[in-house]
Structures are given as C-alpha cells and as structure tokens.
Amino acid sequence: MSEPGVPGQFTATLERDQPETGPRRMILNMGPQHPSTHGVLRLLIELDGETITHCEPDIGYLHTGIEKECEVKTYQQAVTLTDRVDYLAPLSNNLAYCLAVEKLLQLEIPPQAQWMRVMLAEFTRLNSHLVWLATHAIDIGAMSVFLYCFREREEILRIFEMFSGQRMMTSYFRIGGLALEPPRGWYQRVKKFIDIFPSRVDEYENLLTANPIWIGRTKGVGFISLEDMLDLGVTGPMLRAAGLKIDARKDRPYSSYDKFDFEVPTRTANDVYARYQVRIEELRQSAKIIRQAMEGMPSGPWKADDPHVVLPDREKMKTQMEALIYHFKIVTEGFRVPEGEVYHVIESPRGELGYYVVSDGTATPYRVHMRTPSFGNLQAVPTMVEGILIADVIASIGSMDFVLGDTDR
C-alpha cells in the first residue's frame, strides 16, 4: 500500500523521488476535467512509459457542504439535501436518512410504505448500475452499450417522474412514510418495464460478457487484495467480487428486506471482470425484488400514524381543526426529535451507506454525517493502479463505481 500524500503538496511529493539528472518519469495530471474520471476526480499519475509508478487522487472539487447545511434545515427539509449527495442513487440516500431519523423517533412504518421503499430503492439500484455499466463500457470503448443502458435508464426516470414529478431529485420518502401514493397506471408501467428488463440485460451481456476484447481489457485487471480493501474501508460490489458475501440487505435487514427472496451474487476473481459480473447479476436480482414487491404489495396506509411527525392528509387538513394545527406546526417549525444519536446503515448501489444523525432535542439536526460508500471505495485507487497501464486505470476506476458528489459531501 502506498503512503498517504500531504494535501496540497502532491506534485512536490511526486517530484521528491525524481533524480536530478538523467531520465525522469512523466507526471500526468488526469482530471479534474477528464472524460473518464466520472466527475471531477483529479489523479496525479507518475508514468514510466505507459506504466503507472505512483498515483495520488485529489478530491474536493465537488464539495457541496451538504452535511453542514443539514444542520440549519428541519429534519424534513434535510431529505431534499440527501438526494443531492449521490445524484445517481437519490432514493437510497433518502431511505438511509429517513430510517436513521425514524429510529430516533421510534416510528413504526406501515408495511405498504416499507415495501414501496424497497421497490423504489431497488429501482434506484437499477438506475445507478445502468449508469455505471454505460460509462464503464464507453470508457473501454464499447459505445453502443452506453446508449442501450441509457434507454432503460430513461424509462426508470420516467417511472420516477410519474410518482414524484421529478426525474432525478425525487425526494419522495418522508420521515414516517412516503410523500404520496403512486398514481394510477403506475404499476402497469412498472410491470411493463420489469417484463422487458431481463431481456435487455441479456442484450448487454451479448455485447460484452463473451467478447474477447472486453475480457482482455477486464480480466485480471485492477486487482487489490481483500485485506487491503477491508483496511481502506471499501464496501459493496467490490468486496463481493472478492468473494466476501457482505450485504446490509441480508446481514442487517431494514425496511422488511428480510421478507424478500433474493441472492447476493459473489465472485472470487477480484478483478474488473468479476465486479462487472457481480453488478450484472445484481441487476437481475433487483429486478426480481421489484417484481416480488409489486406482486406481494400489502395494503394499508402510506404513512405512519403519528400526527406530530407526519403531515395530515390534504382532505383532513381542510376539514378538521386539529389536523390544520398539526399541519401548521410541522410546516412552520418542523417536529422535535428526542435527544440522542443514531447510526443507520443500508446497502446503497455503491456499498455501505451509513447516516449518523445527532439530535439535541430541537427541530433541526445537531449533526448529520454520511458514511458514503464512494469515499471508502475511492481510497483503493492508489493501491489498485500502481504498476498497471494507463488504459487499465480507466478500467479500474470505472469498476469502482464512485460518484464524486457522494465523496465530497
């Protein structure tokens, strides 16, 4: 493992080892505006020919201050900020935050809302994995896969838009349940999508899985030992591709994930190809979960029964005095959350996503911290890319599937 660099002194660190005279190694600044660093990651790469001898990632170009901003929002308002953290998996972030706050409030979420949350979280996983596959494939030069993936993602975004009015920043989960029930015709649309989706995954696999060029570019590339990954805090599909069967949905079931029948795919090869296989299999498993959720959706209310926290129905608010008062109180000053601190972990598409929420008894969080999977996964970059070719850096980075918004909260 390489030594961590000194922030702000990257170039100096790199040039320190260079000889005064004679051949020097080339230092290549990759990013922050580079087609394949997936956002604004900056990599300082020391090259010997096309082989990488040293690499230092530099993050912070997309710092949003969301964690800090949560401290001046009410608990409900902060949900809309969590969308913006990982903009490819907004509902996973909503879910983790809501679950954390609900744990503090000790709210009981009705089963229908729980199942709906599972369904939408899995849609988010499909959405995120499709973008991952699209960009990963185009990084390696397979141009058409990019557009095929975006065709399916477009349909998912339309499904999101149908129930929330938004394509990406849905902010659909509320503390205590869901914002609204899905509109008429929504289930038919989901069914149509889920019926066709497995054949579309086959289509991607036809183009890639057995393609000798794809295998040549991905097999045996981007190896990093399991111990190193665990030390660095890597989670999610990368660990599963190394043979470690770890998935918060199975290990610490939340939101009634224990009622669903699905597999956690693992591979042991621990390379870019294995990560590709794991994620492709996760696409299929997620589609399976969505189908189960759709077919077995329990009936009942969409929100928890707690008038102090959950907004009343529009109908009641217009007709009952009491409901109107609750509505006014929640909207103007939010709801108070009992003092305490809580940490809740879910399995986001990228890995273990944890929300740490501290409450001082007021209506705004005292502190919200996100343990985001992208940040952990990104730590593996220097170890992974040392000694490989520059073209493999692109494949390795692509296989990590990080979102820079998720890294710089």
Binding site: N29, I213, A391, I394
Partner: protein, 391 residues
Amino acid sequence: MDAFIVITLIKLALIAFVLLTAVAYLQWVERKVIAHIQVRPGPYRVGPHGLLQPLADVIKLITKEDMMPSYVNKPLYLFAPFIAVAMALLSIAVIPFGPTIEVAGYQTWMQLTDLNIGVLFILAASSMGVYGIALAGWASNNKYALLGGLRSSAQMISYELPLALAVASPLLVSNTLSLRKLVGSQEGGILHWNVIGGGQIVAFLVFVIAAFAETNRVPFDLPEAENELVAGFHTEYSSMKFAAFFMAEYLNMVTVSCMAALLFLGGWDAPWAPEHGSRFVPSIIFVIAGLTALYHGANPPHKLDRYTFTAFGLIFLVLAAIFVAPIVQSWLLPLFWFVAKAGIILFAFIWIRGTLPRFRYDQLMGFAWKFLFPVAMLNLLVTSFLIAWFA
C-alpha cells in the same frame, strides 16, 4: 499532348471534388448508421434527414476560432495536419475506379495516373502519413498528445508489416504491381477474384484487420482513445487543423477500402458476367430502394417525410432507369461494382465501431506481432510455394 493535359486536369478536379464530397458524406453515413445501431435518429435537423449536416459541419469548422497554444513547436505544429491530409490524398491518385472510357474521341482510364508500382506507392504514402500524427503529438507539447502520438507511431509501424505481407500474396497471384493490371488479372466473375479464385481469404482478412489499425479505427483507435487520452494526438488542434486530421482519417478509410476491393475483390469486375444478368443488379437494387422510399413517403413517419421520401424514391427510380440505358452501361456498371465493394468494406468499418470495445496498448501490439504477423507470413510462404509448384 494538349488533350492529355486537359483530360488530366478535368480528372483531377473531378476526383478531388467527388472524393472530398464522398468523405463528408461518409461521415454523415457513419453518424446515421451508428445512430440507428444505437436506437437514436442521428442528424436530423439540417436538411431532410440531416443531409446538409456535412455542409454545416464544414462551415462550422472553417469559421471556428483557430487556437494555437503558445508553447507549441510552431513549424511542426502547423506542418503536421498538412502532411496527414496530403499523404492521404496522394495515395488516391493511383487508384483506378473503372476501365477505360471514351471522352470526346479520347480513350482514357478512370484513374489519375497509372504507376507500374501503384501498390508500393500507396504503402509508401500511408507510411508517410504516420509522420503527420507522430509530429502532431510531439509538436503539441502536451502530455496526452505525446502519448497519443507515441501510441500511433508504434501502432502504425507494427501494423504496416502484416498489411504489406497481406498485400504481397495477391500480388504474387496476379504477378503485377500495377493496380490496373491487378484488376485485369481477376476478370471473369467472382470465382476469379483473388479472395476466392486466388485462395487469398486469409490474406484478405489479415488485410482488413490491419487496415482497421492503419486507419486508427475501433477497436484499434488507441491514438485518439478519448477516454484515456482526452483526444490523443489532436488534443491541441482546433478549427480546420482538426478537420484536416479528421479528413485524413476518412480519406485513409476510403483508400484502404478501395485497396481491398482492387486487390482481393476484383475491382470493378461484376460478380458474374453482365450477359447473364449482373447488368440488371444495380437497377433492381435501385427499384427496390425507390419503391421502399415511395411506400414510406405514402405512410410518412414524420410530417415532412411525405415529401422527402417521395423525392428520394423518385431519384432512386431515375437512377434505376439510367442504369439500364445501354449507352452508359459500359462505364457506369463497373463504377457501380467498384463503389459497391468499397462501400461494403466502409460499412464494416462503421458497423464494427458501433459494436466493439477498444484494445489495450500492449494487447494491440501482441495481436500484431504474435498473431497477425505470423499468419500473414505463413500465408505468403504457402502462396509462394504453391505458385512455384504449379507454375
């Protein structure tokens, strides 16, 4: 002698005009074909079905600000795109497009000039083209461009060997270096073409693969691997200088496709004798295309297609009528077969681009030296032994 000069000048202007237009429209075809592979419509706004898009692109590229970074090596930086495009144009000069025609009483070939070493000339010109890219990468004084230039020189030099070896075998079979005589030796239908009659199917495949690498196309487009090297050797080029590289790439594509057609597919020779019906093939194709277009014009998918598809349909039908006219058949038919053969190979270029990922640098080199080179060598040896045996 004066007539010779006039005719040559006319041919020069004609070939340059047709070729440059063809290159511009090749790009349109590429964008359309790839778009349809990728379930999207492609260029659609400029002209009917985006047909004026190449023109708009040219205007855009000419009028764009021409930026030159201050730290470049100026003479070489300016010279590089010139070499690239000049060498690409140069090789077209010796390519024959059809048999002799009679213009105003003068017999002339559909070819600018017939060198008796035409094949060698093309190989030499395309080797010189490497300088354009290598110098562009070096003179830009940019690390990405340098890596792109390095990759490209290594790649093109490596792939020139299998390419030349693959070219050598049909030359042995036909026993000439003149492209015109090469076609002459393959006359008499598909069974006499070098790819089948000469038994050069292996050489043909090696040639096509090496041609992909020579022209920097997917899956061998490493010099300009966008996702690794930003834009490779032309990172620092803008405006028409960028367009020059772009043009050179497409011109090279046209050249190698013509080469493949001439060396392996019998040039302008019809697949079977015109008396037995092959002279009707173009007309039949155009009639089918015209009727399809007319049908879609009658059931337009978009409002304007009522007129555009109908117009296309009528144009196709007129073309079909022209192709059965006996006066022009003698020179139009060979031209058709030549363009069709080169076109199929160009289509393969585009098709592959829509399908395959990209090789890695070391895999690319390994493929050239460990697979293509031995195969081409073996093929050449076997061919020469067989020729010596039977001759």
